[in-house]
């Protein structure tokens, strides 16, 4: 309300000034040399400038500025997208590396396990083989020993028979020979 009243007063002042000027308006027009033709010429002069500037400078420049702003906005959006994509890729890469590490650990553990098993198995086999060899060698020794003993017995028996025959100075019959042999062998076996 106050502004409206204030406005009214100022308007009135304007008005009064205008009214006072009205009386001498013709004189003012004469004094300032105002001629419709001149005004029209000046109007045209400015109109030409406004038209040419608008058509050939302002419009294209504004269009270019808008274009550039759009491009910058696009670029920013792209940059943001790229950044987010990069982040994603980095996350992915990190996940991959993590996975690979886990896998590698597993592989190594597996390998270690396998190697352990293998070495154990190898060790067991070697022991077995050695044991077998030892057993074989023992049995061979035993066999040899037995053979030797048998041979020794046979020799002793033969010696017994020979000695006996010499002592008795008589030829023993085949039947006696075998009887003595068997007796000697029986005695020797008990040794």
């Amino acid at each position: 309300m106050l502004t409206v009243l204030a406005a009214a007063t100022v308007e009135a002042a304007h008005d009064a000034a205008h009214a006072a000027g009205e009386s001498g308006a013709a004189e003012l027009i004469h004094r300032f040399g105002i001629q419709p033709g001149y005004v029209a010429m000046q109007f045209v002069s400015f109109a030409i400038l406004a038209f040419v500037l608008y058509r050939f400078a302002i419009k294209p420049t504004l269009a270019t500025m808008d274009d550039r702003n759009a491009k910058i906005a696009d670029g920013l959006k792209n940059a943001e997208a790229t950044a987010s994509r990069l982040e994603e890729a980095q996350k992915e890469a990190a996940a991959l590396v993590q996975q690979a590490r886990v896998d590698a650990d597993k592989v190594i553990a597996d390998a270690r396990q396998t190697a352990k098993e293998l070495s154990e198995r190898e060790g067991a086999a070697a022991t077995e083989r050695a044991a077998a060899l030892i057993a074989k060698a023992e049995s061979a020794i035993q066999l040899e020993h037995k053979k030797m003993l048998d041979e020794a017995r046979a020799e002793i028996a033969r010696l017994v028979v020979a000695t006996t025959s010499q002592v008795l100075a008589k030829e023993l019959s085949a039947e006696e020979q075998s009887r003595y042999n068997q007796a000697a062998v029986r005695e020797l076996t008990t040794l």
């Binding site: 002042a13 304007h14 000034a17 006072a20 000027g21 001498g24 004189e27 003012l28 004094r31």
Partner: protein
């Protein structure tokens, strides 16, 4: 020696006073709040123009 139109002189005096006051307050306002300079300056120019316009109008109307 004083020559010329007293009425015109008074009108221009008033306009000058108004422009001065506007300038005074503008400087004060900008000093108080320098960030608002962009808002204050056009306003001050327009107000100055209005005050000055009355003075010029008076010169034309009265100063014959």
């Amino acid at each position: 020696m004083i020559t010329g139109n007293l009425a015109t002189g008074l009108a221009v005096f008033g306009a000058a006073l108004a422009v001065g006051l506007i300038g005074f307050r503008t400087v004060e306002a900008v000093g108080r709040n320098p960030q608002a300079q962009g808002k204050i300056l056009p306003l001050a120019l327009v107000l100055g123009a209005f005050a000055e316009g009355l003075g010029i109008l008076a010169i034309f109307v009265l100063g014959k």
